[in-house]
Amino acid sequence: MDSGAARLRVKTLAASLVVVLANVSGNFLMGWGLKHGAPLSASPLSYLRVLFDPFVAGGIALLVLWLLSRMALLSWADLSFVLPVTASGYVLNAALGYLMLGEYVSPLRWAGTVLIVLGTMLVGVTSPRTTS
């Protein structure tokens, strides 16, 4: 692997890590805020009230970081690379749901996480960019 390709790979994996962590922590904070804050109804006012919940607002801030870092990643990496590689976040989401929110994660769901990890690893070793 030449130095350009190695640099592209390191940069891509670092950006993917930021994308995954921002997404997982953002979703977690939103989930926590929605479970423990004011209930959500069909009213637009209800949505506005929820958006100002500290946990939901923190979650949204992290999801803005997720959006920007993902756009940057997509500026050089293939969509068909980015999608499976950043899917590793689902594994962390399941673990956080289980550990922090007390959600039940069945053996089938854990098997699903193993498949996602395998798929992520398979795609992760391919070249991040196949178009010019």
Binding site: V50, W76, L79, A87, Y90, L118
Partner: protein
Amino acid sequence: MSPWLLVGVIVVSTTIGDLLQSREMKRHGEIHNLHPSRWGGIVAGLARRRNLILAVFFMAVSFFAFLTLLSKTDLSFAVPATAASYVVETALAKYVLKERVSPQRWLGAWLVAAGVALLAL
């Protein structure tokens, strides 16, 4: 609105948003500097791109549908169930974005989709 209808809205809007976003970011060119002090300039530059605004609109639709779904179901259901579009998006990346999707990448996409399906059970 039923949870599965919400999942449908999320999948369709996410797919359209991702395709538009990927195509427009390739046209924009590689972003080299991700330092937070550059974010304002980056956002200002991106905000002038109509297709990117459209992509963000579809992502916003997906986001609010997701917010509603999260209030009705567990996080460990809501997040994986909305990822049913992996294989479709990979196919569209090949035919619309002209990416070279190798058999290894296809297998990876299918494994992720199967894993997501198991997570949703």
